[in-house]
């Protein structure tokens, strides 16, 4: 809950994800690369939650920004000799922001199905560009040889993924903090208003279109940063960061966790990626089946996602 009636103070439960991440670091040292991947997708899901969950913009094209960020960091590291990870992040953020602004300004004049198709078209176009522009992107083979230097000139990316994990954790923490500020701010309350009733927002004098363009750009920037992190952690970019599939994946993760609530973006990627990791080992050919069943269960029985189930459970306990 955000808005004028909400208490913006951080509750103790909100520290749990961070404690869990630090515990994970010490208890599961051989899973740190999966851990970093989860942190990156949480950041990606958070960026999607900002526009889908709060502003009500339904998109199948959020991978456009994730992918552009990934390729920007990759191209900087592989072709230009810019190896400072924070400079790569900044470059990815800037280009993703530009793309968010440029495409948002065009497509946010439309709504519903038209909007959905336009978002999909944009990421499909980017996928095709990445596929064909082999000198820049490596095409279908992917972009390898991405050089990533030491963070702040101090922390080298090590073989075990320790630095990578903490690096992603810090960036995610900053991203979470920014999103949390936005969500609880008057701007966040206003976005909820647009999602709830756009006609009413027009009638109270809100230039709805511009407000959406701004949040879309912010969200695109965050998604681009998440994409750049993935490149830096893997030192490789593949075509699978663009197109329908990663857009669909992140949407599924967010729906699993719970749309329109800050921590749905945390739960979803954890459950999805761990299930994927486990199921893909057990049933390499059928692992998507498990994800599919999970999604059907959540959509049919728990519209608020996994966090929604928790809510109902806690409320029942209180009343009993």
């Amino acid at each position: 809950m955000s808005g004028y009636s909400a208490d913006p103070r951080i509750r103790w439960t909100e520290w749990l994800p961070w404690l869990a991440a630090i515990a994970f670091f010490f208890l599961m040292p051989s899973y740190l690369s999966l851990g970093a991947r989860i942190l990156i997708f949480i950041l990606f899901a958070l960026s999607l939650d900002l526009i889908l969950g709060y502003a009500g913009i339904v998109t199948l094209g959020h991978s456009a920004f994730f992918g552009l960020g990934a390729y920007t960091a990759g191209a900087l590291g592989a072709h230009t000799g810019v190896t400072d990870p924070l400079v790569q992040l900044a470059g990815a953020a800037a280009l993703s922001a530009l793309l968010g602004l440029a495409t948002g300004a065009v497509i946010l004049r439309t709504r519903a199905l038209t909007l959905l198709m336009l978002t999909l078209a944009i990421t499909a176009i980017l996928l095709e560009i990445a596929n064909k522009w082999t000198s820049m992107t490596g095409g279908a083979d992917g972009l390898s040889g991405v050089k990533v230097g030491e963070i702040l000139g101090l922390f080298r990316f090590d073989l075990y993924g320790r630095t990578a994990f903490f690096y992603c954790l810090v960036v995610l923490f900053i991203g979470w903090w920014v999103v949390r500020r936005i969500v609880f701010s008057p701007y966040g309350a206003m976005l909820t208003g647009i999602r709830e009733n756009a006609a009413r927002m027009h009638a109270i004098g809100a230039p709805v279109y511009w407000r959406l363009v701004v949040i879309y750009t912010i969200s695109a920037t965050m998604a681009g940063i998440a994409g750049a992190l993935l490149t830096q952690v893997n030192q490789f970019v593949g075509l699978n960061v663009l197109g329908l599939e990663p857009s669909g994946d992140i949407l599924v993760m967010l729906i699993l966790g719970g749309v329109g609530r800050l921590y749905g973006a945390f739960i979803g990627p954890v459950v999805y990626l761990i299930a994927q990791d486990y199921l893909a080992k057990q049933y390499p050919e059928y692992w998507y089946f498990g994800i599919g069943v999970l999604l059907i269960v959540v959509v049919l029985f728990a519209r608020g996602g996994i966090l929604g189930i928790l809510d109902v459970f806690l409320r029942n306990k209180k009343t009993v």
Binding site: A6, S185, P186, G193, N197, M201, H202, G205
Partner: protein
């Protein structure tokens, strides 16, 4: 200078004309009613005034300035407020937030992106005192969807007042409200600040004749007659439109 004025306002949908050369004037501080049988084009007229619908031709002036091509949000910022015939609220938000969102748009707080909304005490205080004025003080934390319908109609008015409008368009403020509750709405309308020019569209003739000091009768998109309530009540053409219909039924 009039608070709101239309000159030869027209709107057609294909062969259907829903507004036909409407010349209309709203005086500062007016209590003006727009009545007419179903399908007379009343809501279309309001939607054109607000900017939700573009006229085919003609002019709309707000406080003497031409706003015919001005977008809705800019008209609202220039002091034009409305309520909806069909309740149009943030149903899943608390009553307080419904009003606060409007106040925040008016004073420019809505675009601030860093400080928590709930720390903007001045907005919350203003919303609370507005709600108190309409007898909704205890309902502030309640989700709008959980309010009785009559109170939802009052929230519509509260949101509009939060915009501090110079001109207020009330589109059937008592629509769907049982008659014993419409009394509460009327008494609240009578308490509205006298410097706001109000145009009310209403089917409830009791309410119209008690509230309005001037009445415009709209029939098939044209102004049939305009005048003070007692004149309208005596007018043969108005009887024809209202009673004539009943006679045929």
């Amino acid at each position: 200078m009039y608070s709101l004025e239309t000159r030869k306002l027209c709107k057609g949908f294909g062969a259907l004309t829903v507004a036909d050369n409407i010349d209309f004037r709203l005086e500062p501080g007016a209590r003006h009613a727009l009545i007419g049988p179903n399908g007379a084009g009343k809501t279309t007229f309001v939607n054109m005034l607000m900017g939700a619908l573009a006229p085919s031709s003609g002019q709309i002036l707000l406080g003497g300035e031409d706003v015919t091509r001005t977008p809705q949000s800019a008209r609202v910022r220039r002091g034009l407020g409305r309520t909806f015939q069909i309740t149009t609220l943030f149903r899943n938000l608390p009553v307080l937030d419904n009003v606060a969102l409007g106040i925040a748009e008016r004073d420019g707080t809505a675009t601030r992106i860093w400080r928590p909304a709930s720390s903007h005490k001045e907005i919350i205080e203003e919303a609370r005192s507005l709600l108190a004025g309409l007898g909704l003080a205890d309902d502030a934390p309640i989700r709008v969807a959980d309010l009785p319908y009559g109170k939802q109609r009052l929230v519509e008015i509260a949101i509009a007042l939060g915009l501090r409008p110079k001109v207020l368009l009330l589109d059937e403020p008592a629509a769907g409200v049982p008659s014993h509750e419409s009394e509460i709405i009327l008494s609240n309308l009578e308490k509205l600040p006298s410097d706001i020019a109000i145009l009310i569209i209403e089917h409830d003739m009791d309410l119209v004749f008690r509230f309005a000091r001037r009445i415009t009768v709209l029939v098939q998109g044209t102004v049939l007659v305009e005048g003070p309530p007692d004149e309208i009540a005596r007018d043969a053409r108005v009887h024809q439109v209202y009673l004539g219909e009943q006679g045929h039924a």
